[in-house]
Symmetry: C2
Subunit: 358 residues, 2 copies
């Protein structure tokens, strides 16, 4: 792992001088809490399909099972964590409502859960967020209680946490964070929990890593259902904060990484997710945007599945590991989580044009 | 239905002066022959998934079940017919081998089946076929017996039937036609057969129509498993030969129709498929390329499924019928066959840009 500072074109690297992991936080999510979240989600979240591909099996020399969260409600695994967290709030907190800040799939997930649960939701989004994401979030909020709304802020002049925090305090709203929350992490862990339930124990599980909520939940799920499984987090090279944190044992930050995997542009792990990753994850792998685009092309052209670039991270990481250490992968049983499918198809062609250009 | 000749920009229309349907040919494919083809395909063809979508249900006011043949081997339903026909040849014919002419999914289907069955196959393709299709077909043939090969011909100077016929006679090869063959039609019918088996009886079934093999097989399957189901063939407006044939009772031809639904550019139904369509299909619906592109966008963006433009015909036809005659569709149970997913993703963006441009 190269710890030299990145240049400006690939992201702003701050030194790994953050805190070490707080082991007590790692105990906040257990296999039992994931199982409980699964009961909350039963009949509400989709039990997404698991697909296999002779082509991919042949390419990596293993038997691969892909958990298809692009078919989840709102088109991404994020529904699991948002709904699980909101459904388990106490009655008073549910009555007051929730707030979140996100420009991505988590915003839609909270908005959708708000409609289903009858919980008021305020979503803080940048004013320059893509119109399609604002519209989708607004569409879900149409089914939520009165007072639910999108609040936009100016990314250049305001900090979203400050904007959101002020509103939450004024209106008594509970913040539903996108990843650094035990209830959210337990919800995200239900995807891997279902995967193990359907295909049995695995040798490897590859999981995209942004803020680490899905990775943490998946790793805890593996501890419960497939203790020998090595859980691997996969990050884009340009945003390798989690890999640096994992290697150094100190929380590292990469600001504004430039990568096509927009769901992995989070600057750092959270306090809970850092502790859980350190406790339960086997390794972190980084892949370039060209490798991500190649994996995206494979999944689109050969598996006929629409996924967003971030969702290709797991496949790209598996292919990279199989290339570097075939002896570890050959003949194994491998799980991969495809995280979501919310991609602008008009841009898909140009992204696919990058395939193999690392 | 407007029977005025089309202008040159939309295809060359010959008068509907062909023969009427030969009712005897309609008896060559029965529900029992489809059931038998299903036994031949068991464990070889994929039992493809059926997916549903709240968005699509809401749009058309009905409960819609989509049979996903893009996940079939070779990425299209064509594998069913090719394999079923080749697996049921007598021993001597299998020993001599088969020949087909196709530049599309049927070529890959015959090549794939040849490898699986150990039957020699000669595939006649135009020399200017897309490189990706030549390569894919060649890839499948690599697993087939010695003597298997692609023979290219000059589309401007040669007729494929003449080129193929001469080779077949010289080498004793059995021709496996892309659609006008009872064994092929029975194989294609297994997709609808499985759909009825999984979801029960339906009120409507929408099926893309090129040469009519899938449509014929689907209609016979409906007679066996859901006798009250109205089976609708869907064609591009520019290549509406089957709709004209159905309306006039005479086999009509539209040469070289210009449409994004490249799998429906066949000039006319075959003799078997015409007879079966007349006997068992309820109606033919035509849709413009803009409507096909809109349906393709819906399936890609909301259902997260990669399909080729021809595969969007069924969804486009359903949306069109629900718009014109909502009273017929509302509250019903509707099947749609998504026929395949072999699309050049670099072109998908430009096709999607046509959405709604009729």
């Amino acid at each position: 792992m190269d710890h030299a500072p990145l240049n400006e074109s690939t992201g702003g690297l701050l030194p790994c001088s953050g805190d070490g992991p707080d082991a007590a936080l790692a105990r906040a999510v257990s296999p039992a809490s994931i199982e409980a979240a699964g009961r909350v989600l039963a009949g509400v979240a989709h039990r997404t399909p698991v697909v296999t591909s002779r082509t991919l099996d042949g390419l990596v020399g293993a038997r691969v099972f892909l958990k298809c969260e692009q078919f989840q409600r709102v088109g991404a695994f994020k529904f699991r964590g948002a709904y699980a967290a909101m459904a388990t709030l106490d009655g008073a907190a549910r009555g007051r409502g929730v707030l979140t800040y996100s420009s991505g799939n988590h915003a839609q997930a909270v908005a959708c859960a708000a409609g289903l649960l009858g919980v008021r939701a305020v979503i803080v989004m940048p004013a320059d967020a893509p119109r399609i994401k604002l519209d989708a979030t607004r569409g879900y909020l149409a089914g939520a209680p009165a007072g639910s709304r999108i609040v936009t802020y100016d990314r250049g002049r305001e900090v979203r946490e400050a904007v959101g925090g002020a509103i939450a305090r004024a209106e008594g709203l509970t913040i539903v964070p996108p990843y650094d929350d035990p209830a959210v992490i337990a919800g995200q862990g239900t995807a891997a929990w279902e995967l193990f339930g359907e295909v049995g124990e695995l040798d490897w599980l590859f999981v995209p890593c942004g803020g680490g909520g899905l990775l943490s939940g998946s790793a805890v799920a593996a501890r419960g259902r497939s203790p020998g499984c090595r859980v691997v987090g996969v990050e884009p090279c340009a945003g390798d904060d989690a890999a640096r944190s994992f290697a150094s044992g100190r929380l590292c930050t990469v600001d504004n990484p430039q990568t096509i995997a927009d769901g992995a542009r989070t600057p750092c792990l959270g306090r809970h997710t850092f502790a859980l990753v350190m406790a339960h994850v086997s390794e972190l792998v980084t892949v370039g945007d060209g490798a991500i685009a190649s994996a995206l092309r494979l999944v689109s052209e050969r598996l006929k599945l629409v996924i967003e670039p971030t969702a290709a991270l797991g496949v790209a990481g598996l292919i990279e590991l199989a290339r570097q250490r075939p002896e570890d992968v050959t003949g194994g049983r491998v799980g991969v989580i495809l995280t979501g499918g919310n991609v602008d198809l008009d841009q898909l062609g140009s992204i696919l044009g990058m395939a193999g250009c690392d």
